[in-house]
Symmetry: C2
Subunit: 569 residues, 2 copies
């Protein structure tokens, strides 16, 4: 890594939405300023202001110019109200309590835009049998958490967290993985990657470190993280037994859970569904078991000829998680690692088990989400979602991609973004990113950015398709800016302003080009948007003269010219 | 550009499939060689060969080490049989004739793999009400062309062409746009871009040049192109009248059509559906008319208060096209340029007109495809396909993306690949690529590569989903190579071997790493594929010992442990 990137995005301010009753609840938001539209009326020019655009902001205090950043001290607490040993969010919700986290989340998800300046919200979509709410209220948040259809990953030991929610009635979220392996390792690198990933929009971050100094790396990450941190505790447990899977024991795993929960990890991937009887179902697969946790546990089960100890000790795990309000991410250890293995028996047998476990976790008051694949061709994606909703009682689904073909290593952020947008539309609540380095190596800084932005656009495509209230506001604003040749606004409203600007400037770097009515793609004479803008006057005249009616007549005539063709062609 | 890239891909040979009866029909194919699998049986190692993999190859003689390339002379004729003034492919097909082009295409599409080495073909998909054929035969090709459900763009004046087909019963194709604008122009650059785009897999190329020397640029492109070339003749017509749309006339346009048809252009985009009565429907759009051709013709119509001359002269256009067997690509001049404008009245009014025109073109024996959007959110994509099939009598659909959100300039190859894969699965026959520079500037060499490879993977994802026979063969082969740590094979089987290799080598450049059972992503101890491979022995033992049965008992017991939970949870 090459150091921290701090301060707001170009053309943007960091601001906070205030809660009307609770001054301790201040929800971060990125406010994008726009330049005015220049309207030409004959020889007169009138300047018409365009409204600020509010954007959901996962970047934490790092994008706040006023914040004091000190990685050694960590972030200041946001959840000043949080106390150890209370009820979990789920238990509180069931008891009818609206927690401060729920209040915070309702403000954050609703993200009401200022005066909308005539931008309309079209295409109310649909959520595949699940109606989107008209408004995100604290009560709505509570009800979804109580029902188990949404989770608020928020360990009581992680007060630095800015609360967020994962559920299909909310904005689709994305996760970025970081973490060193033995091949490359540096603690500060990992913290920088965390800050970098959230800057580009990661809603949660998983620390998948497996190398040395695993405890200390995690401590730095949690203390500096404004987003929920997830881990796979079996990785550290395996380190403790020198990498020999057979030597794992329930006691070592249990102690690892407690150690990590104490540090403030917000959700744990637990591969409790990798059951001994399911392993023979993987024998004829193209790519066997491709989940790291899954293969570790499979090895343990086969070495001992015993059932997975995470399965047999599941209630005890629940008790630890409840104590800290750590959320389950029930791992899909048997997910398909190739198109050929998609939707096979092994995968769906495990999914049924995850459903059983969800029921138990809910009995114990523990929030739960379900991990999903993997590699799945487009026509088999919907079945994954349907089965998950059925087997797992509508607990939030959290998928890795899925990749829709195996043949494009180097481009797997894209093979998987296709699957991710599709499954997000169908109801997946969080999408785990895939970087261009998938299958090939450890992602670097630029890979993380590419992966996060790609997943932001996939999640947003899903939000549009499922009709999330207000999702289209930003699309409308950027399209208006584009049509009016407000280049700076187009850059600033985009997911990656720096890249948009750099690409434009590659051929037209001059400052004057930032207001030019063309770009190098088509040149000044052939810009359709320019031609179309210039048409406006003619079109108004045409319509005003009532020629539209004449055209209607003409249309029927035109129809007749080809009437013969229509009848016998 | 930085010069020509010639010769075969790494690990590949250029080869030709021979037609059993016709020695003049030789279909190019890329043959990827694989290294053997090392099977370990106790202390013995056995080397088991893996079959060659045949890949559809659009790169022409440029990837043939034996070919003599001379851009000034152009390519040697492939269609040695072709004669001016014959029947169009459609007319011949209707008369029951199987043309040499159809024979060629049947061999090319079927692309039978050699001995498949145990690779299975799973998941026969579906084509949304259109059954995929079990086998691609010359007769099948003929029938689809006769019915108008597929086109073979092949101007009789373009003998250098390697015939290919566009239709939803065949592999999904992709188009790459090249062409200079006044801002950047060089003829050799454009020819190099053509060769570069087809090397990465472009099935057709559109020359959208608008700058100076438009005729000569096109001449060089056609003479050196193994793939069909498309153009938008209105661009050159506009150049002829000094860029003043109002000054366009039917006569100038007609002469331009003939000029380009004489040169050998294989398909023309004709915006005959931009009718005067539809223009008022665009008045309240977010982004007006974003098609260049569309906005030029709208301007002409409004300036003259007359119907589009391409519409009124449509039968005369058909006569010219029939003479050369140029294929129509009926332009969607009123396509949406933003999410808000998707699926609006203007778009669908034009689509109805394109249906009318299709009927006429077919009467005249002219092959026809239909252009489609544009910017469309995921949930509105299927409707585009359904309406096109209905209105345009199942003529092949050829879409630009569509982009599924407006907010990611710099990443629009991805926002659009999501839409492209989706609409390809639903039946779109050809996908027009979008590069990362879309909306921002003219693509350079690397943008073309990024755009083409992205669209190849989207088209392949669609082929898998629609169950094209044998499409999964390459996925299975690369996944087998991946699982067996045959890194070189994984690179060579991928869509972009150079990038896959470069990404791997970034962290593990040593030659030894090319056979290592891990990469830098997870490191040697945590590679799930390695763990899973190592499991194979244990798993076999477990299964052989009949423990699977015991596990079955255990499973029912396990079920009972949680029976209470299941009943009341």
């Amino acid at each position: 890594m090459t150091g921290l990137t701090l301060g707001p995005f170009p053309g943007s301010d960091k601001a906070y939405l205030e809660h009307p009753q609770r001054p301790d609840i201040r929800v971060p938001v990125r406010v994008i300023r726009q330049s005015p539209t220049q309207e030409h009326l004959g020889s007169l020019t009138r300047s018409v202001p365009n409204p600020d655009v509010y954007v959901y902001d996962a970047s934490g205090p790092y994008s706040d110019a006023a914040a004091q950043i000190d990685l050694e001290r960590g972030l200041s607490p946001v959840r000043t109200w949080v106390k150890p040993r209370g009820r979990t969010q789920m238990q509180a919700a069931r008891a009818g309590e609206i927690t401060p986290e729920m209040e915070y989340i309702a403000l954050r998800e609703a993200m009401r835009q200022p005066e909308d300046g005539g931008l309309t919200h079209q295409h109310p979509g649909f959520g595949h049998g699940f109606a989107m709410p008209r408004e995100i209220t604290p009560e709505y948040v509570r009800a979804e958490v109580a029902r188990g259809r949404a989770v608020i990953p928020a360990n009581v030991m992680h007060p630095e967290l800015e609360p967020m929610i994962i559920g299909r009635g909310f904005r689709v979220k994305i996760n970025a993985n970081i973490g060193n392996s033995v091949v490359r390792a540096s603690i500060v690198d990992e913290v920088e990657k965390l800050i970098w990933a959230t800057r580009w929009g990661a809603d949660t971050v998983m620390d998948l470190s497996t190398g040395p100094e695993i405890h200390q790396t995690r401590e730095w990450i949690v203390r500096n993280s404004p987003v929920p941190i997830g881990t796979v505790p079996i990785y550290q447990a395996l380190e403790k037994v020198g990498g020999v899977a057979e030597d794992l024991t329930w006691e070592i795993y249990r102690d690892t859970l407690i150690e990590q929960a104490e540090q403030g990890v917000d959700y744990f991937t637990v591969h409790a569904g990798v059951r001994l009887p399911w392993l023979p179902l993987t024998a004829n697969r193209r790519t066997g078991i491709v989940s790291r946790g899954g293969s570790i546990l499979a090895r343990w089960c086969l070495a001992h000829h015993q059932e997975n100890f995470l399965y047999t000790h599941f209630r005890e795990i629940c008790e630890i998680m409840r104590e800290y309000d750590v959320t389950f991410s029930l791992g899909d250890g048997l997910r398909p690692g190739s198109i050929q293995d998609a939707n096979d028996q092994a995968q769906f047998a495990e999914l049924q088990t995850l459903g059983e476990l969800t029921r138990i976790a809910w009995e114990e008051g523990v929030q739960t989400m379900i991990e999903g694949p993997g590699h799945v061709p487009l026509h088999l994606i919907a079945e994954n979602m349907t089965r998950e909703l059925e087997a797992c009682l509508e607990a939030p689904f959290y998928t890795l991609g899925p990749l829709t073909t195996d043949i494009a290593p180097g481009y797997d952020h894209i093979t998987s973004a296709i699957g991710a947008a599709t499954i997000g539309w169908h109801g997946t609540a969080m999408l785990c990113y895939v970087t261009p380095k998938e299958h090939l190596g450890l992602p670097d800084r630029e890979d993380v950015r590419e992966g996060v932005v790609t997943y932001k656009l996939a999640a947003h495509a899903a939000d549009l398709a499922k009709g999330f209230p207000g999702a289209q506001y930003r699309d409308n604003a950027i399209s208006k800016a584009r049509f009016e040749f407000r280049w700076e606004d187009q850059f600033n409203l985009s997911l990656d302003p720096e890249r948009a600007r750099a690409f434009h400037d590659q051929t037209l770097p001059a400052e004057a080009a930032k207001t030019a009515h063309f770009c190098s793609m088509c040149g000044p004479q052939f810009c359709s948007m320019k031609l179309s803008q210039d048409l406006a006057g003619d079109l108004q005249a045409y319509m005003a003269e009532g020629l539209a009616e004449k055209a209607q007549e003409f249309r029927s005539q035109g129809g007749e010219i080809y009437a013969a063709a229509r009848d016998d062609g």
